[in-house]
Every structure is written in structure tokens, then in C-alpha cells.
């Protein structure tokens, strides 16, 4: 059941000129959040921007064995994300959640292959933790524009996650798109057949992952981000077309039917 709290900003760690991690004192929301679920945030009480914005829960925060809140991974791209980039400890952020359907984690012998593009890394910290707790082998294909925008590599390595990195400018890892090494490995007969692909990032990347998964006989789960008005199913703005037999496609609300979908159920366009 979603809760709405005026969460105090616990910390704001700037990772670069565009990225930050914002800690929010919303322990009840954090305690019930699953990997891939999201919160709707609004900084302050202004009329512009009017609406909240959706953010994946990045981490649940803990101190002395109790849950103290959650964090989000934010990238400054517009007015709302700028407010969250500039938030200061002690500020209040209206936080509604947890919302949406989480990723379904696999267990051994299945492997989990995580594919993240840029800020699409957000849901994978919690997912990797849950998967590793089950003893699942996890690898992370992680692409960014440049080396300085690849974050939290140590944390994933400490969890025992194998990293495959790409950058668009070639400054770290493989030069090019994150789907290139994924395609290479999917086509490698030495790689395990039982692998679930989890993807979060730009929609063309999600579509490519879903296509590659289907072409190589693997299943995929993708987390989509659409323009969202309310997060609760009230406004019908965040729809995504799913395949529908006999009538082309059918729009469903990604806030309540998603944000996580099976890659093969979406009508990619």
C-alpha cells in the first residue's frame, strides 16, 4: 500500500555535474519497496513544475540494523531533476511510494544479466543485492557516455557482480553501445542458456535488449519510463503498447501494469 510522506533530505551526494544520489527519510516506504519499484517525488510545494516525477528506488538506507530511508539516483535534465540535484539536507521532498511492479528475481541455476544505460542503473543496486542474496550469478552490462559517468562500480564488485562496461567515447571499457557486448555473449555457445535479462535505460536500448533476448532464446524483463502524471493509474498518460491478439496493440498504464514488463509483451515501435 503506497504511502505519502514529506521526507527530509538526509544527504545529497553529487557524483558529477549532472548526477547525484539523494537520501530521503522515508523508512516505511523503503522497508516495503522491491527492486524496480518507484517513488513519485516533488521538491517543494510550487506550481511549476506542477507534477511529481517518478524515480526508481536506488538503495534502502540502514543504520544500526533499522531502515532509515531510501535513496534515488538522479540525473539533472529538467526543472524537477534540477531541484532534486540542488536539494540540501533538511529540505523536504514529497515522496509517494512504493509504486509499480518490481522485477521478478531468478534463482540458481539461472543467471541474471543486468543491462543498464546511464541513469538506468538506478534499480539495479537493489536487484543485484537481492539476486546475490539468493546465490544467483549476476553480471552487469553498464553503458554510459564517458568513464566519469560510470558510477558505483566498487559497490557492484563487492556484491560479486561481474562488470562489462561500455562508453560512447571509448574512455573506459568497450567503445560503443552496451548492447554490443550483450549481443556477443548471447551468441557465444559457451555462455549459459538459462539467463534472465534485466534492462533499464533509454527505450531504444530496451527494445534492442528485448529483441536480442528473443533472438537468442532468453527471457527479458525491462523497466520502462514514460511521461507519467500521477503514478497511481489515475491519469492514463504513461501508457505503453502491449501486443494484443487480433487488434494490434493495447495501451496499458506503465505505472500500475509496470514499470517492469516482459520484453516480449511490449509492442516495440
Amino acid at each position: 500500500m503506497p504511502l505519502d510522506v514529506a521526507a527530509e533530505v538526509l544527504f545529497n551526494t553529487h557524483l558529477s555535474g549532472d548526477y547525484n544520489v539523494l537520501g530521503l527519510a522515508a523508512p516505511e516506504i523503503a522497508a516495503s519497496a522491491g527492486p524496480g519499484q518507484f517513488v513519485m517525488l516533488k521538491s517543494g510545494n510550487r506550481l511549476e513544475p506542477l507534477l511529481r516525477r517518478p524515480f526508481s528506488v536506488f538503495e534502502t538506507l540502514e543504520a544500526d540494523g533499522t531502515t532509515t530511508g531510501l535513496s534515488i539516483l538522479n540525473k539533472r535534465i529538467g526543472p524537477s531533476t534540477t531541484l532534486l540535484f540542488e536539494a540540501r539536507p533538511g529540505d523536504r521532498v514529497q515522496c509517494l511510494g512504493p509504486l509499480g511492479r518490481p522485477f521478478v528475481p531468478v534463482a540458481p541455476p539461472d543467471e541474471a544479466w543486468l543491462i543498464a544505460g546511464g541513469v538506468g542503473l538506478a534499480p539495479f543496486a537493489m536487484l543485484a543485492e537481492r539476486l546475490r542474496a539468493r546465490g544467483t550469478a549476476v553480471r552487469l552490462y553498464y553503458g554510459a557516455r564517458r568513464a566519469s559517468e560510470l558510477f558505483f562500480l566498487d559497490a557492484f564488485e563487492q556484491l560479486g557482480v561481474r562488470l562489462i562496461l561500455t562508453t560512447e567515447d571509448g574512455s573506459r571499457g568497450l567503445h560503443g553501445r552496451v548492447t554490443a557486448p550483450l549481443e556477443r555473449d548471447l551468441g557465444d555457445r559457451a555462455e549459459p542458456v538459462r539467463a534472465m535479462l534485466y534492462a533499464c535505460g533509454p527505450e531504444p536500448m530496451l527494445a534492442a535488449v528485448a529483441r536480442l533476448a528473443a533472438a537468442h532464446g532468453r527471457q527479458s524483463q525491462v523497466s520502462v519510463e514514460r511521461v507519467m502524471g500521477c503514478g497511481l493509474g489515475g491519469c492514463y498518460s504513461c501508457v505503453i503498447p502491449l501486443k494484443a491478439t487480433g487488434r494490434g496493440a493495447h495501451y496499458v498504464r506503465s505505472c500500475i501494469a509496470g514499470p517492469v514488463f516482459r520484453g516480449d509483451e511490449i509492442e516495440w515501435r
Binding site: 511549476e48 511521461v227 497511481l232 493509474g233 489515475g234 491519469c235 501508457v239
Partner: protein
Amino acid sequence: MAVDLAVGIGALRLANPLIAASGCFGYGTEYGDVIDLSSLGAVAVKGLFLTEREGHPPPRIVETPAGMLNAIGLQGIGVHRFIAEKMPELRARGAVVIVNICGTTIQEYVELARILSDVEGVAALELNISCPNIKEGGITFGCSVHGTADVVRSVRAATRLPIIPKLTPNVTDISSIARAAEEAGADAVSLVNTFLAMAIDVETRRPRLSNIVGGLSGPAIRPIAVRMVYECRHAVRIPIIGMGGIQTAADVLEFMIAGASAVQVGTANFSDPMIWPKLVDGLRAYLERHNLRTIAELTGTIDTSAREKEWISS
């Protein structure tokens, strides 16, 4: 002092004047775990056609200064699935249900009214003759005095349920439309639907909505909506349900003082789904502060004695 928030919309009694606006609250069931639906005066569910509709491709909304544009295109499950899948939960949760109905022809409005007349728990029908986002039906009736009268008269003959035409502000004189609705047998009118509007991305020169144009809602439209309620108050005797950009209890009161008997809250529910108890508390506090026992007595109590406006025709 115990204050009374109950209001009457014709024969319809509401525990308070706060109604969730159609199109901004799903079918109500989406909010069942978030708020107590029975604590609202009523829930106006998303507009229903006889059959299912897919709506417009995304992007369907875009934010604008103190507001938003939408062009959802009335995606919906159709009246039959609504009755089978949503009404049982709405009844169980004690919601007062106003069903918003949409047709492409007068016959479709009549058919919807007949079907819904027999459904337990439907308190009233709101006639959507004002959606700016679909070409067929709807707004083509609501933009003319005759079209409005034809729909209302036909539905009136088909149901005993209270009928509430929802009016578009995209007309030259909304009070003449309200009067036509009253004369044709409407129990109340609700106003305003959204203002036809558009937004363009100047970098790409593309419209920001897939439908190119959409409806503007939110605080940006509130002063215009209040003015329209005020004008209609002088044109009709039937109750007016006011809406347009309500965010606070003071905004509710502004509409009521201008002439509304109840209000609908839409866009504000998106940014704050927990707004309802805050509005109730604010209304109670106002009544206590002004030594008023009932909120109903506020309707139309605007004091214009100091500056009479002669342009309002009666």
C-alpha cells in the same frame, strides 16, 4: 461548534462538496488503497463509451506554467466492463459514484443512460459534451445551444438519475449553454472542462502532444473558471458544480462563493493524491472561523455591492 459540510445537488445529497473530477481519478478503484473513497462527496469516474477505446498515442500530457495539457483521447474499458469489474468495488468501498458518459451520437448517450439507470450504486450521470480531444460527438454537442439541449432532453427522457452536463469553456457564451441545459431538464451543470490549448518544442518544431492540441487544466485556468461559474450562477437556477485548478480549501471556497454548490478536483489529485482530507480540514476551519454552521449557505454569496458589474445579463 459542529459544522456541516453536506451539500445538495438537486436530489443528490453529498457528505461534502468535494468530487473527484472525471478523467483525473481513473475509475476510482485505483485510489481505493490510498484514500477512503467514502470520505469524498462523490467520485466522477473516467468517461465511458458503450465500447472500449484505446485513446491517443503518447505523449499524452505535457506540463505548462502552473498547469498541464492532456490529450488522453478517452481511453477506457466501456460501460459493460465498468459495471462488471469496477462497480462492485466502488459499492463495497462506499463511494458515491457519478458516471461520466460519452457518445458519438445522441442515441449512444441515451443507451448509456438506460444501461446505467439499472445499476445499483450509480448516483448520477455526468454528460461529457465537452472533451476537447476527440473529434466525433461529445464537444460537437456541447459547443452549441441546440446540441446541448438535444442531448440533455434525450437523456432526460431515458433516465430518472440526476443528469449533469459537463460544459466546455471553449464557447463564446457559456451561460447560454448552461441555460439551454437547464431548460432541457438537467439537474445541475458542471463546469469547466479543459481549455483547448497547445505547446510546441521550439528545438524540433514539433507539438509536444501526439494529438497536437490538448486540454489545459490546473491552477493556470482557475480565474477563468471562477468567472464562468459566476456568469452561469446568474443564468440558471439549477446547482453548479465548479472546477478548474483547485489546489486548496480557499480555492474550493472561491468557486462556492462565486456560485458553485459543489466542486470537482482534478489535476491537483495527480500531484497530491492525499489532498482530500486536507481540503476537508481547511473547509471546516473556514466555517468555524466565520461562525458558519453549513457550507451550503456559502453558495453564491459573493458581495459585489461595492462594484456592480453591469455586463452580466440575467
